[in-house]
């Protein structure tokens, strides 16, 4: 798992300065093992293209041993890197008939990854600068959004899959509590459900997304309805819109909808 929000991230040019009484860092300030390796390489002023594996492995393991808090999820990534370092070191110990060429250097894959990672980090620092610039710029966001050029001129926001899914999961959560009894097997087919939805739409012109899912008898039925709605949206038969942000989601039949194959 990713750590959601990290405590103050290290300054762009490296983790915070070491306190005078010895070196202390928290595991959490490093995003991953490459981050830590890069930091150690810098600290030891090592040439990234010619890493003394023995030195860096010792530093790395020392670091892993020193930290007191263990987050098992993140730990695995750091241990994996430790294993990789030891493996690379072992490669150097093997007797060889011929000296290794540059391409065969067991450090090469790791160095390539470090170089890539270094670039990504530099790019993210540049993006951060842009973010800082943009944070001082304000734009108005409260005006009505532009109507989509093709849609029938309604002032509506088409909702994304995430809005729908979020609304749906909110219902699931709510329902968790009142549905502990075993459900009798009632088979609901996607097709029947789709027809049902279209029939309702023809009669009532729109469906309130939340209300409709909530009115379903069982969780299973709600799930099927949800998939039906997704399918109908995907095939451009219905459209899910909000009048404004945070308003209820309504499902409409599209005027230009392709005919449903109803018998």
């Amino acid at each position: 798992m990713d750590t959601p929000e990290l405590p103050p991230p290290p300054a762009p040019d490296g983790p915070p300065a070491a306190p005078p009484d010895g070196y202390q860092v928290k595991l959490e300030v490093f995003e991953g093992p490459l981050d830590l390796l890069l930091f150690l390489i810098r600290k030891k002023k090592i040439d990234i293209h010619d890493i003394p594996i023995a030195v860096i492995t010792r530093e790395y393991l020392d670091y892993l041993n020193r930290k007191d808090r263990i987050n098992l999820d993140r730990e695995a990534e750091f241990l994996f890197m430790a294993a990789l370092l030891i493996y690379i070191k072992s490669q150097f110990l093997l007797p060889r008939e011929q000296p290794l060429t540059e391409e065969e250097d067991p450090r090469k894959p790791l160095v390539d990854r470090l170089l890539d990672f270094q670039k990504i980090r530099a790019a993210s620092l540049l993006l951060k600068e842009k973010e800082d610039e943009q944070l001082q710029v304000w734009k108005r966001t409260a005006l009505p959004p532009l109507p989509a050029p093709v849609e029938e001129g309604l002032d509506l926001i088409e909702v994304s899959l995430f809005d729908l899914a979020e609304a749906f999961f909110a219902i699931l959560k709510k329902r968790e509590y009142d549905h502990h009894r075993l459900l009798k097997g009632k088979d609901i087919s996607l097709e029947d459900k789709m027809k049902e939805i279209i029939d309702i739409l023809r009669a009532k012109t729109f469906i309130d997304f939340l209300e409709y899912l909530e009115s379903q008898e069982s969780l299973e039925e709600a799930l099927v309805s949800f998939f039906c709605l997704l399918e109908l949206i995907k095939s451009h038969i219905v459209i899910a819109v909000q009048e404004q942000l945070f308003h209820t989601i309504k499902v409409w039949l599209r005027k230009d909808a392709p005919r449903m194959k109803t018998p």
């Binding site: 798992m1 959601p4 670039k119 990504i120 530099a122 973010e131 710029v137």
Partner: protein, 183 residues
């Protein structure tokens, strides 16, 4: 150039929340070319950049928007009573740069480049903030989802299009600075 073109464009940009593209402006006006629109916008921009204006017209995500000048950020904040805007976490920024430069990418590719076991939390946050979007599935075992940066990504970082991302040279310069700073 058509009469009042500058004024008309100013009015249209003023009333749009989303970046207004030259194409969209052209579709409202009957007898102008896109080039004329661009010229008029350039003239407007030049006027706004001069003294006497607290706002300017910025080009972002392929369109134009009105935005306050950074100098007046403190006053705007005081008016809106906003202490500071939230920033993206380091994990989010790194993940975004990976996606921006390697798009479309799968989660596994993001994980590998970041050397972390699981980026799903960060990806989910970025999806929710609409800074990235799912662009399809990769034709590979398990058909994993592919991620791309969104239009909101461009707006968030004030970029007109992806070609305005920091270039390889800029990245190299940053790396050099870092190395020099420490040796």
């Amino acid at each position: 150039m058509r009469e009042h073109l500058k004024e008309i464009i100013e009015a249209l940009v003023f009333i749009s929340v989303e970046p207004l593209t030259p194409g969209r402006i052209k579709s409202v006006l009957t007898d102008v070319t896109e080039d004329e629109v661009k010229q008029a916008v350039a003239a407007l921009q030049a006027e706004y950049e001069g003294p006497g204006h607290g706002i300017r017209i910025v080009a972002t995500a392929g369109g134009y928007q009105l935005a306050t000048k950074p100098d007046y950020d403190p006053q705007v904040r005081r008016l809106l009573q906003i202490e500071r805007k939230s920033r993206l976490s380091r994990a989010a920024l790194e993940t975004l740069s990976i996606i921006a430069y390697h798009q479309p990418v799968t989660q596994a590719e993001v994980n590998a480049l970041r050397s972390v076991a699981d980026s799903s939390f960060t990806l989910h946050t970025l999806l929710q903030r609409k800074l990235i979007k799912i662009s399809g599935r990769k034709k590979a075992p398990g058909s994993p989802l592919l991620y791309k940066t969104s239009e909101d990504f461009l707006i968030y970082f004030g970029l007109n299009d992806l070609s305005e991302l920091p270039s390889q040279e800029e990245i190299a310069r940053i790396l050099e600075q870092e190395n020099n700073a420490e040796t």
